[in-house]
């Protein structure tokens, strides 16, 4: 068994107790993922762009829980003229979820994307805002800022300020929405990225967990009353998900909100893992397992500062 397969097997076994359908989970983890994308309406009309794309792949399908998400059998849409001109953005379906669950607070507001690079969610939000309002897109690493900047330019995003800073030392800034899409062990992307398997280490859970809590805590402390905070990761690990949210719930003045996206099958947040009991409220978090919607794995929580 190759190293990649071993890591997949470890992941399947590690979560067999908390996943709703273990055999299906195992099956989907071993299946490749189709390329997904969205149309960037800052640069093109959705129907017009789609019509053109269908001349390359007539089987492009719309995703039922997202009006602007599509799946293609092609693996190289990045070499299409539509990608070159920024009319489409190749993005994992699950990565499109955080902006979708805050549609109600996005309009013309101020938004801080704490860990923004490479800019998938930033550019998606800018599209939803039609370049109105103001997004502060921050990241702590210079190399990642370059890819963020490149995507903002290609997609024609004009309402964004890019900042290079460790978010934990970010100056207090009031906004209506704080997006904490935290660095994580990325287990959820195992269907796609061999790199996850190559880099995967057991001790990463602890390292990421510490980093994630610091980022979310800072966002919660900075957020004014009534503002919204989204915490998301692309990992299955409860140590990086429910545990973080549960600890923040006890330490900071925040409420968890229930999340729902029509047509998207989801699981609840788990309240017990490895002998640890989490706050019952974390059930309101959303877990997406690969077999539920044929996607990556993902976790998201919506909070409100009170």
């Amino acid at each position: 068994m190759g190293a990649f397969q071993t890591v997949k097997q470890n992941i399947i076994e590690r979560y067999s107790n908390i996943v709703d359908n273990s055999p299906k989970f195992a099956k989907f983890v071993n299946e490749p993922l189709k390329q997904s994308f969205r149309v960037n309406t800052l640069k093109g009309e959705k129907e017009e762009v789609l019509e053109k794309l269908k001349t390359y792949d007539s089987k492009i399908e719309k995703v039922k829980w997202n009006d602007n998400a599509f799946v293609s059998n092609l693996t190289n849409l990045g070499s299409s003229i539509e990608h070159f001109t920024g009319q489409i953005y190749i993005q994992e379906l699950t990565s499109m979820i955080p902006p979708l669950i805050v549609k109600d607070v996005i309009e013309e507001n101020k938004i801080i994307d704490c860990c923004a690079a490479p800019g998938s969610k930033t550019t998606q939000i800018a599209d939803m805002m039609q370049n109105r309002g103001h997004i502060i897109a921050n990241d702590s690493r210079h190399t990642r800022i370059k890819s963020l900047r490149g995507n903002l330019d290609r997609l024609g995003v004009t309402n964004t300020t890019v900042s290079l800073r460790d978010f934990k030392s970010f100056p207090n800034t009031k906004a209506e929405l704080y997006l904490v899409d935290a660095p994580c062990s990325s287990e959820g992307t195992i269907r796609k990225k061999n790199a996850v398997a190559r880099k995967w280490k057991e001790k990463d859970y602890e390292r990421f967990s510490k980093l994630q809590k610091g980022l979310l805590k800072k966002a919660c402390q900075m957020a004014p009353k009534g503002s919204t905070i989204i915490y998301s990761t692309c990992t299955f690990s409860p140590d990086e998900n429910e545990k973080i949210v549960s600890e923040i719930l006890t330490e900071e003045s925040i409420d968890l909100k229930r999340i729902n996206l029509n047509g998207l099958k989801t699981g609840k947040g788990i309240t017990e893992w490895n002998g640890q009991i989490y706050d019952k409220e974390v059930e309101k978090c959303m877990r997406i397992w690969p077999h539920q919607n044929d996607t990556d794995g993902f976790f998201v929580a919506r909070m409100e500062k009170c």
Partner: protein, 147 residues
């Protein structure tokens, strides 16, 4: 470090946009203008106190002896530009996106031009009367398989 762009330079850019591409000043109404390093000009939202930005909005011009529009700027506003357009055929388009210079037939006045394929804006070029010099940033060069 980004500073607000002074009125003289802003006027120079707006006049150039009008004269060279027939772009109305109105499309810039909602933007703030900034001057960054290497004479790069940005348009974007307000500056936020205490945040030292890497960039704001989008880089639209480089101001040396004459203003040079960026590919990002032309791609964003290209659907409103009909003056000094060089239209390419399919083969020329893939070559241009791949970073090549071209020798298209055109009667456009020498200077910076907007390069299009059908209705799609590819970006910026410099036409000297004989050669269309590719102005797309190297980082954006791409082998186009689907057109």
């Amino acid at each position: 470090m980004l500073a607000s762009l002074n009125l003289e330079k802003k006027t120079q850019i707006l006049d150039y946009c009008k004269e060279r591409f027939d772009i109305s000043k109105k499309i810039f109404d909602d933007y703030n203008w900034y001057l960054g390093s290497k004479n790069r000009i940005f348009i974007g939202p307000d500056k936020i106190e205490r945040i030292n930005p890497e960039s704001i909005g989008i880089c639209v011009f480089r101001l040396n002896k004459t203003p040079k529009p960026t590919t990002n700027f032309l791609q964003l506003f290209g659907n409103q530009i009909y003056k000094n357009v060089i239209e390419l055929n399919k083969k020329q388009t893939t070559d241009y996106c791949n970073g090549l210079n071209l020798e298209p037939e055109t009667d456009v006045k020498p200077g910076f031009v907007i390069v299009k394929y059908k209705k799609i804006t590819l970006g910026c070029g410099h036409w000297n009367g004989n050669l269309l010099k590719n102005q797309i940033p190297k980082s954006r060069f791409c082998k186009i398989n689907y057109l």
